[in-house]
């Protein structure tokens, strides 16, 4: 009996020793094969899900390409992501789990200001480099040295965001004088409107109407009539997608008196809106980040878009993908280039490298400034021109979204005043 027990103990001890030996011998090779884990929360449901899913596809394309060419530091890349449901309240929990439980090596942000800001305290407390995807002035209050934001707003993101609109307005003869401003009651429009006020003062415009509206607004004609009643020369709108469509339809239905209209209308960059609003968009001057104009034909961007467009239809996301996907690809592209250049996953070294160097990406050369925003603004102001109601195909090539600003990327001339003015 005792022998049997002793025998069993001996066998057990041998098995344990073997297991430990195997584990120890396996460790070095396992480390080489261990993936580099990149963690993020992303909106797969809720109001920003359309953008979130498109961004995810772009990030996945980058990961596949990176793995196909040998990975990062010779290790494969693995994406670990959770649905933030477009709800800021889910974000702290997601990043805590990514860092403390999933043990990710790198973190990147979800899409949009509201979903980046709640992650900042957690990411900062763990000293991770944090790549931001389309956050507006998020780092202003945190002042974190290793936050880098890919949207080309510029060093003073709030003001630079709308600077192009005011540059264009101020260049017209006679120079317009009065300005109406409206935007949704939400974080992005609020931030954008602070910048608009700054610019209005700098460029000498008198604000004659300034009101925000709730995001549940169904009919925009009363707002537009109230704006028309103040007779503004130019109108700046900081709106979310449903509101943007509401405004575009309303200006075609009841007309506007302003000579320049648009500025910060989110949604008009999306294929679904372009194909249905069609000619109603003509004449509006609005921000964009990348459009297929000859001045913005950077290496790799068309190859990326071809890959994206091949999967977009099945994924039920923006079929052209001009607005966000190239940037979602680029923010991981920058991170990947920095990791390779540094040769390790040391967050401080990666962060310092990104701060100090220029990166060549599919959206062009990128250099970050002190606050983690682009060192110089490249916010485009485009004017919708010559659009008919034939659908989406016309937007895949140049000529429909003509770049007016910045001067270095300009691809055409403005039609001024707004063609529908005073109708």
């Amino acid at each position: 009996m005792i022998d049997r027990v002793r025998g069993a103990l001996l066998k057990g001890a041998m098995a344990a020793a073997l297991a430990v030996a195997l584990a120890v011998s396996a460790q070095p090779s396992a480390r080489a094969e261990d993936p580099i884990k990149i963690g993020f929360g992303i909106a797969l449901t809720g109001g920003l899900a359309a953008a979130g899913k498109a961004a995810l596809v772009a990030i996945q394309i980058w990961a596949e390409e990176t793995n196909a060419s040998g990975g990062l530091l010779g290790r494969p890349v693995e994406l670990i992501y959770y649905d933030d449901q477009t709800s800021p309240s889910t974000v702290p929990g997601i990043y805590t789990k990514l860092i403390n439980i999933d043990d990710v090596d790198l973190v990147i942000s979800g899409y949009g200001t509201n979903l980046i800001a709640p992650a900042m305290p957690i990411v900062m407390s763990h000293g991770y480099v944090f790549m931001g995807l389309f956050g507006l002035a998020v780092n202003e209050r945190f002042d974190y040295p290793y936050y880098f934001q890919i949207m080309p707003a510029g060093p003073d993101p709030r003001a630079d965001w709308s600077r192009g609109f005011f540059e264009i307005a101020a260049a017209q003869t006679p120079k317009p004088v009065t300005l109406a401003v409206t935007g949704a009651d939400a974080e992005f429009p609020r931030q954008a409107l602070i910048g608009v006020r700054q610019n209005a003062e700098e460029y000498g415009f008198e604000i004659v109407y300034e009101r925000t509206y709730p995001t549940s607004t169904a009919d925009f004609t009363p707002i537009l009539r109230a704006i028309n009643a103040t007779n503004p020369d130019i109108v700046f709108v900081a709106s979310y997608p449903p509101d943007s469509a509401g405004f575009v339809r309303a200006i075609n239905e009841i007309g506007i008196k302003a000579k320049l209209f648009g500025g910060g209308m989110v949604g008009l960059q999306y294929s679904a809106f372009q194909s249905k609003l069609g000619s109603m968009m003509n004449g509006i001057v609005n921000y964009d980040f990348w459009v297929p104009e000859p001045t913005l034909d950077f290496p790799g961007v068309h190859e990326f878009l071809a890959k994206y467009q091949a999967v977009a239809a099945d994924a039920g996301i923006d079929p052209l993908g001009h607005y966000l996907p190239p940037w979602a690809y680029s923010y991981v592209q920058v991170l990947g280039q920095a990791v390779e250049a540094v040769g390790s996953l040391d967050q401080t070294a990666i962060g310092e490298y990104i701060r100090a160097n220029e990166f060549q990406t599919i959206v062009g050369p990128i250099k970050f400034g002190a606050n983690g925003e682009w060192a110089e603004t490249r916010m485009l102001m485009v004017q919708y021109q010559g659009i008919d109601d034939s659908g989406l195909e016309q937007f895949s090539g140049p000529g429909k979204r003509v770049v007016l600003y910045p001067e270095a990327w300009k691809s055409g001339e403005i039609n001024y005043p707004y063609p529908g003015a005073d109708n």
Partner: protein, 290 residues
């Protein structure tokens, strides 16, 4: 002069907006007001209606409102099924109060996920001949995309009012709303009548959804924006009154439009819900409540 023109336009816009609000609230008036069922998922059914209209508009080029009308029998059948499940799982066991609410809350999310899986998460818009133009009546300009849904909403309200007032089944629904036990003693089956009423309520969502996507773009979770509004209108109307729903919706629409035009759009919901609170303080049963 300018102010008078603005006022006229604001009133007209509010009237049209109210018609749309009535259309999205009629189903809630029936289910919540008459059947005492807190169907918090009703706006999600409206979004399904939007996507159904979008599907036919996009693939066959069918007018979205006509598509909505064609889908009403399908929605009616879906409503009957949902009520049967709800009744068997909760109502029959006397657990409808809190667990029933959880059931509909869950249903709301399930519907959203199903729409997302079927159509994706992108915004959807429709084409129709009346989108983009306006009806000019002197100084008043009314977008056709608001006028047409308003007319359909009026027809819906009138149709439902006549149905509940004059048809046998409609009167039976009203009887269930008043006293289900008494009806049972008379030999009628409240469950069958309630499932019929629930089906009618969900059928209205097909048309209301079509109106929603005519007015603006729709995405899967958009229904949540309307939960508060449809409940407010059902309560303001007087819990179960069809004409009351139209009146309450127009009051809210006009209040929102006037506030947006003359004061500031941000205050519009506060003013609308303020009216609800004041009305309930003065008339706790609502405008048309008994």
């Amino acid at each position: 002069m300018l102010n008078a023109e603005l006022l006229l336009n604001a009133l007209a816009s509010g009237l049209l907006l109210g018609g749309f609000y009535a259309a999205i609230s009629l189903g809630m008036t029936i289910v919540f007001g008459q059947l005492d069922i807190v169907n918090i998922a009703h706006p999600a059914f409206i979004i399904v209606g939007s996507y159904a209209a979008y599907a036919l508009n996009d693939s066959l080029g069918l007018d979205p409102l006509l598509a909505g009308l064609l889908f009403t029998p399908v929605f009616f059948a879906a409503g009957v099924v949902v009520y049967r499940v709800y009744h068997a799982a909760f109502e029959a066991r006397g657990a409808e109060a809190l667990r029933g609410l959880v059931f509909f809350f869950g249903l709301l999310f399930i519907i959203e996920v199903l729409i997302t899986l079927t159509f994706g998460v992108d915004y959807r818009l429709v084409d129709a001949v009346y989108i983009g133009g306006a009806l000019k009546l002197g100084p008043v300009g009314l977008p056709w995309r608001m006028v047409v849904p308003f007319l359909v909403a009026l027809a819906m309200t009138l149709g439902l009012h006549l149905f509940f007032k004059h048809s046998f089944m409609g009167r039976a629904v009203m009887a269930v709303a008043q006293d289900p036990v008494a009806l049972q003693l008379m030999g009628a089956k409240p469950v069958r009548i309630k499932q019929f009423a629930f089906g009618i309520a969900i059928a209205t969502a097909a048309l209301a959804g079509a109106m929603l996507i005519v007015i603006g773009p729709v995405e899967p979770s958009m229904g949540r924006l309307y939960i508060g509004r449809v409940f407010a209108i059902a309560v303001l109307a007087g819990m179960g009154s069809i004409p009351g729903t139209l009146v309450a919706a127009i009051i809210l629409g006009v209040a929102e439009s006037l506030t947006a035009t003359f004061y500031g759009p941000s205050w519009a919901p506060a003013v609308a819900f303020g009216i609800l609170l004041v009305t309930l303080a003065v008339r706790p049963a609502g405008l048309f409540g008994r």
